[in-house]
Symmetry: C2
Subunit: 138 residues, 2 copies
Amino acid sequence: MGMGQQRERGFKLTPQRAAIMAYLEGNRSHPSAEDIYAAVLEKYPMVSLATVYNTLEILKQMGKVTELNIDGERKHFDPEIEPHHHLICTRCKKIINVRKEFDLEVPRDISREFKIMDRHADFYGVCSDCDNGAEKAA
Amino acid sequence: MGMGQQRERGFKLTPQRAAIMAYLEGNRSHPSAEDIYAAVLEKYPMVSLATVYNTLEILKQMGKVTELNIDGERKHFDPEIEPHHHLICTRCKKIINVRKEFDLEVPRDISREFKIMDRHADFYGVCSDCDNGAEKAA
DNA sequence: TTCTCTGCAAATGCTTTGCAGAGGC
DNA sequence: GCCTCTGCAAAGCATTTGCAGAGAA
């Protein structure tokens, strides 16, 4: 992920932050804050959930991470910058990337009234794991 | 909204539920549960937030209302069945409909693994009210 | 010293749940 | 009576905040 340009004077790359960023680097599992906390905790016991949230907030502001609202129950985070879309299994909550370009232009009467900053397509479905037998992979 | 076919034996159209459904009928403001509660309360003082949530859950199951996750802070509800999309002003949180058909087909390797149940495009922007002066209409 | 960061714990805010009482059939 | 529904209050979770102490420059 690289700490090239930082948010502002005074940003410190602490071990906690480095661990969080290392976990996110290249990660395509769209983890929740709790997921990140649990993962980082394994290798680096000195982290608190508050620091995870704090760091995610900063990474968001730096544009290094995107917050996903596809899951109504909790937020997920995505370090991938390239534009892409998401699909969530409504049973096991697994989120996968949908790499395809969609033509998402809003009608002109809307683009006159709104400055569009972001857009994406969300897909909701059931994965084959969940569709088969009972609800494994919950 | 009409109570044609109901969820199952035993569904009662109580005054509270009727008031909630009446408020939602034709409503295009994408209200949150709290919004619905406040609005219904004006005309019908005998409602509780719990009943609003309870009713929304039932309406969702009946397919008469859709839950929107476009706003990370709270859920919004939409009684419109016709497929459409949404745009939210990230400042004032106003949500408007985007009536346009987008070609949202997932790549074949994904449709093989997932049974897609729903799909839609979400747009994030800033409305002209918020973009101009300070943050009115907060 | 000065400033940012951290962990902890408390506080928020949205949503859900438990439960005893009310009302309809 | 039987069953569903309601309001209230408590509980549950995810997320945020306050704060004193730790650490780097």
